[in-house]
Symmetry: C2
Subunit: 359 residues, 2 copies
């Protein structure tokens, strides 16, 4: 049997599926999961789809102590023709391997991983919800499993994929959010792990998020960890600003996560012949544009919300109300076009989607 043959053990006790209108994010999980093991002798081996089940790990496993782990997030969408499709999974698997490199985790076979994801989604296809705005969230992740308390890369790993049906991000259509600029806490710094999708970045963000939530803000906007001047990203999304007709997003610098949606937004804006620039931008500059009336729109981009308009930005005592707290035309057009491609109601001009098929 090839190392690439996926064993399948069917779940004989499938769960009851939640109603489409009761889905939130990341609370329900499907009947099956994908697991593959790594050891130095065999490399990645024993790929299998098994009933969704607890992981059994030695309490000394490195992941618990030293956080050697990476993850990805993407979605499967049910189209109006009742096909199921993924959006740019190749970009997620490329990034997973870049994260693996930063965390000293062995590279995975990207093509095989996409096949495994498709296989798993196919088996649990009835879990892909069909209500507007709903989807099946896909969470691939790698954990370090060696029971060893020395601070060094693990000898053994598991690559796991779990699936979670998720509700519409906006219950009443796309809707602007209030964001607070974070001045005390730092998410990441150049030379750190900011551009990797790894647990520590998110652990680090919990405290700031907890504080601003109590003050009524949906997320924080992170500044650079060095000078606390330059805009990096917002919550777990990348961020865009429309200034005097030009769309600006912070350039990748080693501490900003390279979002798949960010990349898609840039490509789409260029396709529309709209001016889009990746460059450094400070909060000082943004506030100046705001005062001059040149800040026309602000929005985040990410897998969960696709596009999240920013209606209000709080910074050093200033309450910046952007576009009268309404969704701007660029944010709306991007949201409709990208979700249209994802749900198969718009032409997929860039070949971004791939059908889930079972070999």
């Amino acid at each position: 049997m090839s190392e690439y043959t996926i064993t399948y053990i069917k779940n004989e006790n499938p769960k009851e599926k939640p109603q489409s209108d009761q889905l939130s994010f990341g609370k329900y999980f499907t009947d099956h999961m994908f697991i593959q093991d790594y050891n130095p002798d065999r490399g990645w081996h024993n790929p299998r789809i098994v009933p969704y089940q607890p992981l059994t790990l030695d309490p000394a496993a490195i992941v618990f102590h030293y956080g050697q782990t990476v993850f990805e997030g993407l979605k499967a969408y049910r189209t109006k023709r009742d096909n199921i499709q993924l959006f740019r999974p190749d970009k997620n698997m490329e990034r997973l391997n870049r994260s693996n490199d930063r965390l000293c985790i062995p590279q995975i076979d990207e093509e095989f991983a996409i096949d495994a994801i498709k296989h798993l989604v196919h088996i649990d296809q009835e879990w892909v919800p069909d209500a507007p705005g709903t989807s099946l969230y896909i969470r691939p992740f790698v954990i370090s499993t060696e029971p060893y308390l020395g601070v060094s890369p693990s000898a053994t790993y598991q690559f796991i994929v779990i699936l979670s049906p998720v509700g519409a991000y906006y219950e009443a259509g796309i809707n602007p959010v209030k964001i607070a600029v974070e001045n005390q806490f730092v998410r990441a710094v150049q030379g750190g792990t900011g551009e990797a999708k790894t647990a520590g970045n998110y652990a680090s963000s919990l405290k700031a998020q907890e504080i601003v939530s109590k003050e009524g803000y949906a997320q924080v906007l992170w500044l650079d960890g060095v000078e606390k001047k330059y805009i990096e990203e917002v919550g777990s999304m990348n961020v865009f600003f429309k200034i005097n007709g030009e769309i600006v997003t912070p350039e990748l610098n080693g501490s900003i996560l390279e979002g798949v949606t960010r990349n898609s937004v840039i490509q789409m804006l260029k396709h529309w012949d709209l001016p889009v620039t990746e460059r450094k931008i400070t909060m000082e500059e943004l506030y100046q544009h705001y005062q001059d009336g040149a800040l026309e729109e602000a929005f985040g981009s990410g897998t969960a919300a696709v596009i999240s308009p920013i209606g209000e930005l709080a910074w050093e005592g200033h309450q910046m109300v952007i576009n009268e707290s309404k969704t701007g035309p660029i944010a709306k057009r991007l949201y409709e076009t990208l979700t249209g491609i994802q749900y198969g109601t718009e032409d997929d001009i860039f070949n971004w989607t791939t059908k889930v098929s079972y070999k």
Copy 2:
């Protein structure tokens, strides 16, 4: 039954203990472990000592994805009178709670945790090795267990303590190491999680450590993440320099871990009426002192090695050989005094040790 009554389930199949001369670090684990659960209704509850066993966790548990976890490290020592004692466990539990605060994890009861550790060590007392320089490493840690993919603090946790008999850090007595100053990667930054003992800091350090290991260095010396000028810590230890008779260590700044051994070193130096200063120090300054012949000693401090003399420091092409690569008199005196207190051969003038007794 009180929430503070520890249930005990004896391991009826004890393992064979490794030979004292075959111990390394963190590879062997004892017959029992301590576990306590947390949920919002009951708080910390159900403390129990059970046979050492795998943890069973939902694959969506927050610890795997967002690294919400903290840990501690301390040791139990077998004295010449065949007592078993701990070194300053109160400092470790204080720090565990500071780490908990930064990571949005509920506070633990420090006194009860120390009692639980003593209880566990007492049960596995035969695992405390007796060869010179050996000890029983104690690893308390908290993991977030809620199965939820939203980025937010977990509703549930486990506080766990495992034990590992460890060998002498220096097989042939205290011995200077070669250290490389890290210029590319960053361990932590102010506003991040550097002063917390949490997984992400260690995940972030793996890559730099991997690179310098290949070049023959034992550890890296971390500079600050903002200007990459100021000395922070070395590997997983704090660092001290003797310059013109004065002992200097980087001042705590939010990104340096507050070491228990660091604190003990400072207290001991003051007791000896030796000048010790906590202040900012740059690599530029250190190199200048080196060239002037004023850099007399350099050493790290930490639970694993206690005191680790630095014989050579590589920085921007300079190979700084310190004290002819020999252990200096201050490092030697600190090592002998601190290990003397830990193993009960020196008077415990500060009341730092506490006997393991079973109530």
